[in-house]
Chain length 373, copies 2
């Protein structure tokens, strides 16, 4: 279980196969985010059709609602949300730091108030692992502390605590059918990141995540951090860049040795009427699309692009019809999954290095807002 | 085109086939309502899978947004919303009377203010037909005036105007690929209804609708009205009971000779967390369902019931996830379509009269709110 087989490499980019109890993941892989045990507005049938293989769900949210004990009673997360393929849960750490109120951190753990009802809760590494064991995802995360990347002093404290919590997470973890990943922290300080990468790599985790990125640092800082970290990680374990990213982040991340990505961006953009396309990000509310008979992206093979015009989707947006969000979510997720499939095929063919600049040229536009046709 | 072939009858109940340019409709048929060129939260793929054959859309809404000229430019309503099977549009009359503001009615037509932006518009029979020709549904409706069923004086005035408007609608209608249905009005007055049925039946409409029901009258009044009207209608034309209904309305309507139904109830209930079931209507927000591992209805064959538990759907509702509305809409529509399929099969087998009391017993519970398990 949890062997990571490398199929092909090109420079630091890798194509591999990560075996889990719910099937083998072909990496690199992009995971749609199903925060509350649902990828917003989509059915599992939609996710299967658009090529999703790994789905992430959030421990913090599910612990608060409906409760991890209830999910366990209903047969675990796969059964509860009817996702038959691999799943990943985070540790809840990031959400406690970004969403919860009145948090108090010490070496034992974090005390926080629920953003839903203000009730008080306490997370420790042991508690996070117990919750994640109840949820039952294939890949689970050590409890960590994410720092402000620009605060060196705090980054060091948070990193050191993350290391102690990594050891406690490992010790607490019992279920043999879950791969517990350690998390590298250290802000954007190369020295801290090197220390953290070496420490986490020294522990018997079957996979390693890189946390604390895409939280306010520059793209250069993200790339430099990856350039420090991934060379220090073992080749035979998958590497997961948490909460990243945009199409260009996927290309840049794979080039720096990343295997697993997740991000709310595709579904969040969809709720704001924005669509990825090979000609740049589109805001489909734009009046220019009122009579546009083209699909969102003529080069896309998703259900939305095979079926509907920009004019129709714009009408749904203007008429406040929820189907708009569903259709754009399908497209945006398919766009990223198609990109990662192309990246994987290029690595297998040994053409990724050659194609990456062109991919970046094509998809880089999607980082910007407001570009239309 | 627009032949109505009767396959089987049992008492006044009929099973038939109504040929349209987008395929033959097997009647009796229940049409989901796609007010703004979308059955709320569902894709056309969902509608196909749940067995929908006819979809209704609203002329008033589409005229205001995105505009019937735009829909025509995009290839018509079938193409615009990608529904390849038969479609029906209403005349806009009912919505003008129920939704629009500051309406002024005279023999020419109705002046009203848009509920969206307060702009002033004028509908006449000719205008309604022109809009419906732009939209391009297979079945379209004469422009009519719906009265308060309990106001006899107004019902008579509205009925007489509906008759004059029926003649003008017929005269205005050009497209040979659309079946224009006349509408019987007359409130709940049996004499007015008889006059109206005979008048509308005398005109060369390929189908006849019964309007002005399910607008505040009692069930008895609805049934008595149908008992007056349908015997006066020609056998060889389909009869459409507009805006009806509940599961029991379908059974009672078919028994009184109705072939076509439409209603927003299944999708509206879904948005309020209520689901039809063979054991009574369920409110899935109910805490009793928090750990309920059963599907909404164990006897249902829909995607939702084949896939998800009540516990999961309740979680989606409590967590305010839009997927809840999608899943319950799929179930509620399938429940009515399955019921109408069973009714049709029973008529074909000659067992409808025998089974109707049992069907009413089973489905009658769904008229009531709040019943749980």
């Amino acid at each position: 279980m949890f062997e990571y087989e490398i199929i092909a490499t090109e420079g630091r980019a890798r194509a591999g196969l990560f075996k889990t109890p719910h099937g083998a993941l072909r990496t690199p892989v992009f995971a749609p985010v199903g925060t509350q045990a649902t990828v917003k507005t989509l059915t599992p049938a939609h996710l299967k059709e658009l090529g999703a293989s790994l789905v992430l769900s959030n421990t913090y949210h599910l612990y608060l609602r409906p409760g991890d004990a209830l999910v366990a009673e209903m047969g675990g997360l796969h059964q509860f949300m009817q996702w038959p393929s691999p799943m990943l849960t985070d540790s809840g750490g990031f959400q406690v730091f970004s969403l919860a109120q009145m948090r108090k951190i010490d070496d034992d753990g974090v005390t926080f108030k629920s953003h839903i009802d203000g009730s008080t809760h306490h997370f420790t590494p042991e508690k996070s692992i117990a919750i994640q064991e109840n949820l039952g995802a294939d890949i689970i995360m050590a409890f960590d502390e994410c720092s402000d990347p620009n605060d060196h002093t705090y980054s060091k404290i948070a990193m050191e605590r993350t290391h102690r919590w990594a050891e406690r997470s490992l010790k607490a973890h019992i279920r043999p059918d879950q791969a517990l990943f350690g998390i590298v922290q250290g802000g954007v300080d190369p020295d801290l990141r090197a220390v953290s990468a070496e420490f986490i790599a020294s522990l018997p985790f079957p996979g390693i995540a890189i946390g604390g990125l895409s939280v306010g640092e520059t793209k250069d800082e993200m790339h430099r951090t990856l350039d420090v970290v991934t060379p220090l990680l073992p080749e035979n374990k998958p590497r997961y860049l948490m909460g990243v990213g945009t199409p260009e982040d996927l290309i840049n991340g794979v080039a720096r040795g990343i295997d697993i990505f997740d991000c709310v961006l595709p579904t969040r953009l969809a709720r704001h009427h924005a669509a990825f396309s090979s000609t740049g990000r589109l805001n489909l509310m734009n009046a220019a699309f009122a009579r546009d008979p083209r699909p969102i992206d003529e080069s896309c093979d998703c259900y939305t692009c095979r079926t509907f015009t920009r004019a129709y989707i714009r009408h749904l947006i203007v008429a406040k019809e929820l189907l708009a969000g569903t259709l754009i979510s399908i497209h945006n997720l398919r766009a990223l999954i198609r990109l990662i499939e192309e990246i994987r095929a290029a690595i297998a063919n040994g053409t990724f290095t050659e194609k990456a600049p062109q991919m970046l040229e094509q998809w880089g536009h999607n980082a910007k807002r407001g570009q239309t046709v």
